[in-house]
Symmetry: C2
Subunit: 197 residues, 2 copies
Amino acid sequence: MRSERGQRDTPRRRDLIEIATDLISEIGYEQATVRMIADRMGIKSGSLYSHISSKEDVLYKIILDVAGDFLERADRATEGVHDPEERLRALCRSHLEMIRDRRPAVRVYFDEWRKLGDANQAEVIRLRERYEDGFRLAIADGIETKAFDADPQLGARVLLSTLNWAPSWYVADGKLSPREVADQLLEVILRGLYTRG
Amino acid sequence: MRSERGQRDTPRRRDLIEIATDLISEIGYEQATVRMIADRMGIKSGSLYSHISSKEDVLYKIILDVAGDFLERADRATEGVHDPEERLRALCRSHLEMIRDRRPAVRVYFDEWRKLGDANQAEVIRLRERYEDGFRLAIADGIETKAFDADPQLGARVLLSTLNWAPSWYVADGKLSPREVADQLLEVILRGLYTRG
DNA sequence: CCTACCGATCGGTAGG
DNA sequence: CCTACCGATCGGTAGG
């Protein structure tokens, strides 16, 4: 039993999280050992534990933070936007902006959330459900007030699948902005949701 | 250096692969130890190595087999089908049938292919590219001969993302057959690809 | 933040 | 297919 500072948010702890995020996104959670993280920080592995309480705590912190950021940005992007189609557009843009801005953390989130313990995993799932509900609600809304015609579950499934898979195909290389990609994507998907003719 | 039978296809080796597939799909590749696999076979861990040459060989065998099955089934399903829309329909059905018939192996394929060594990984990527090209070609074909209007890359991206994400949402619970789900999915996506009106 | 270490467990091998 | 091990490495701790 040592100092309990492992839980507080210090600059050095933030360094650690950032370094761990990059490393885990590169080689995976199990392959990323505490010794490698310590090496990149220029300290010994035992010294890590004055900043963290366990390896899983690092993973949890990374994932919780990025899942929360997805939600916050989505809330901010849709604030005051009431048209369902415009809400979807804002949500898609925000999602792609997250991938552009925080790619390594987003990869860790999508690739490694299953490795969390049951309790932590449940909390992460809760956050993801809340996030995805924003999309589902906008689509359901569009079916009521606009000319959307598809099964709302099906439409949400197509859109969310494409976005969840986006880290595999969206490279923010400067050629296409999140805005442009989101608009192109929605052009196809929304057209599919509208009643024909 | 012992017997080289580890590479041949014996009934006992098939047992091993099947048991490993289930275990890895349940808890992940690193968490699935050779001792657990041996336990489920009712033998000691050292004895595994008369059937296999390494743990990665097991993973490679699983993934190569399922990736090949995706391709074979796709070829069979589209044999003699020339209409692009019908080809897409056949490909989607075939894909969902794979998930229904071989869910654990499919999960291992999608979740764990990154853990293969570079050479094995390259071979798997080659197979996946060939598989996805079938979809891309059908969509490009549809743009030439039918009324598809979208960017072919974008259309393929939406369709393939939805299918690649399908292990997360498609539960073959008997309520909806692969055929029905594929048709519903394509109704939305194809409508999105057609020129409006 | 370091030294020095722990118990556990890993994939894999030798020799039968 | 088993016994009996191996060297390596893991996450984590005690005590300073």
